[in-house]
Amino acid sequence: MKFEILDKELWPIAKSLITQYRRKGYKTILIEKPFDRAASFRPTLICKKGNENIAIEIRNDPVFSEYFEDFVKDCLAERRPVKVYLAMPSILGEEEIALTHSFMSKANGYGVGVFLVHEKEVIEYIKSVKCNMRIGPNDCIISSRGKDKILPIISRFNKGEPIDAIRDITELVENLVDNLAKKASKKRKVVPRIKEVTDMNFETKINLLSASDWHGKHQKKHFNEDFKSDLKSFKGARNLSHHPRDKVLSKKLEQQLIERMLMGTRLSNDLLVCLFK
């Protein structure tokens, strides 16, 4: 184990982290190496196990420096499958390290985890979220109507609770389709009466709102064909909750989760616009 950049004083912290990750089964541990050739930064440690990649930058103070922030932004933009952590000693001299509000909000905002290390004890003070499993402000457009309903779900997803977030967004999409169908029925824009609409399942409601003709009677068509097929393909999203052990399946699941989440936000946003038109 050879550190060329890390301050000698921080070597014990690096060693504690390496021991901890080796114990967890991370066989590949890279020291001061880039995550990939295009990476703009070399974190102190990169620990790898299957589809799990952990990048840890060790420093002696809780500071979110500009170049580190750029690295995190880079990982998010490139959707790198890596969890980024900052590790630091929990005690500086005789004083306990103080994490400032701005530091904490930056760490939470970017999904960067924090390790506090004292002698051989490693505390995961803030959990990290994989960079490819976060939705950034540029990833989706949310109208003012959607902010209250969609943003809390995105934030849940970004906090590392993708399965719960997918469940929430699926429920939101289902409720919005239901609301829209009932509203259309009340306003006589569709043929079936409200009781009939209430008894319909999700797929029938989609069919109803996508049809310009219902059992031979003319009605208003709310959804075009693309939107209809998107809604139908989305309805299975809540089933994405198994835990694959295989690296390939795990990667596939991550890809599906982020795609479904992005689809869910887009659909619910469009449904909200449609509902309040």
Binding site: E4, I5, D7, E9, E32, P34, A39, S40, F41, R42, R59, N60, D61, V63, S65, E66, Y67, D70
Partner: protein
């Protein structure tokens, strides 16, 4: 003459120079450099030499820039490849490169000066302070101060090492603190050896260090007054008066250097200073031509005469 060449190479092909005496790179300073290199890149080429056997390059100048380049995963960096120097040439070249920039801490410089001295001695070359200053380009005063610093007890050298890792603004104990304190202890040892006989030098240093840490000693320059107390006989105060005060200064954690100075030699030094002034004025007045005195000057003399007469009554 061997030639140098300019090139762009991967930072991964370069290794640290084991003879770079700078021991500590402060995190804040590195952060600033990292941010700057991230924005504008490396503008000044690094100096390296080729270690042919190992197929590597060794740094002569630019360790911090090299670390930043690695951290930022830069593909290539500008370098000047110089001919491989001998060990002594290597250390001396680094002294010459870095000395101009005043970047090395005195402690780091001291450690390397010690190494240079050993190598000079091995090669049978002169190794006096003057010679060391000449070959390294470091001033004689700095060489002296550096060697003086190495005389500190090990625990203080360790403390200093730890302090130097902090940003300058957060350092409590500087190299100057230890040098000033050591000077004072040296004077105590020379002029009032009875104190050292009863208390060890390290104990005196411990006491001064604690007082400085707790704020009882507010400024490192105050140690100069400790020296004045120890040299009390120079000001006409018997050593028998200064010794108990010095002992109290060492043993009483709340007793300040200012108090000790006032209680012992302050008046004597003031008197001595005034006596010198009076002697100097008297000598100069006696040389003045009476006819050339202006009315204003005469008035001043009269005023002074009145004061003196009042004092003598």
């Amino acid at each position: 003459m061997k030639s140098t060449k300019l090139d762009n190479i991967s930072p991964d092909l370069i290794t640290k120079n084991p003879d770079n005496p700078r021991l500590v790179f402060r995190q804040e300073e590195l952060d600033t450099l990292l941010n700057s290199i991230k924005k504008v890149g490396i503008r000044v080429p690094l100096s390296i030499y080729e270690e042919t056997e190992k197929k590597k390059y060794v740094l002569l100048d630019g360790e911090r820039r090299w670390m930043c380049a690695k951290k930022l995963n830069l593909d290539k960096i500008p370098v000047i490849i110089e001919p491989k120097p001998s060990r002594l040439e290597n250390i001396l070249r680094m002294f010459n490169i870095h000395n101009v920039r005043v970047q090395w801490d005195l402690y780091a410089t001291a450690l390397k000066l010690q190494e240079v001295k050993r190598l000079l001695e091995k090669e049978g070359k002169p190794d006096s302070i003057k010679d060391l200053a000449a070959v390294t380009g470091v001033s004689e005063t700095t060489v002296k101060r550096a060697f003086e610093l190495l005389k500190l007890p090990k625990k203080y050298l360790h403390l200093l090492e730890e302090e130097l890792k902090r940003p300058k603004s957060e350092q409590k104990f500087s190299e100057d603190f230890f040098l000033e304190m050591m000077k004072a202890v040296k004077v105590i040892e020379r002029y009032t050896p009875e104190i050292i006989e009863k208390t060890s030098k390290t104990k005196i240093m411990d006491s001064f260090k604690d007082k400085y840490e707790k704020g009882t000693i507010t400024n490192i320059v105050k140690f100069r007054n400790v020296s004045k107390i120890a040299r009390s006989e120079n000001a006409g105060v018997p050593s028998s008066k200064a010794v108990p005060i010095l002992k109290k200064l060492i043993s009483d954690p709340k007793y300040t250097i200012d108090d000790a100075y006032q209680d012992s030699v302050a008046k004597a030094y003031e008197d001595r200073s005034l006596t010198r002034d009076i002697e100097s004025i008297s000598e100069r007045l006696s040389e003045i031509n009476k006819k050339r005195l202006s009315p204003e000057f005469k008035a001043l003399l009269k005023k002074m005469k009145n004061i003196i007469e009042t004092l003598l009554e």
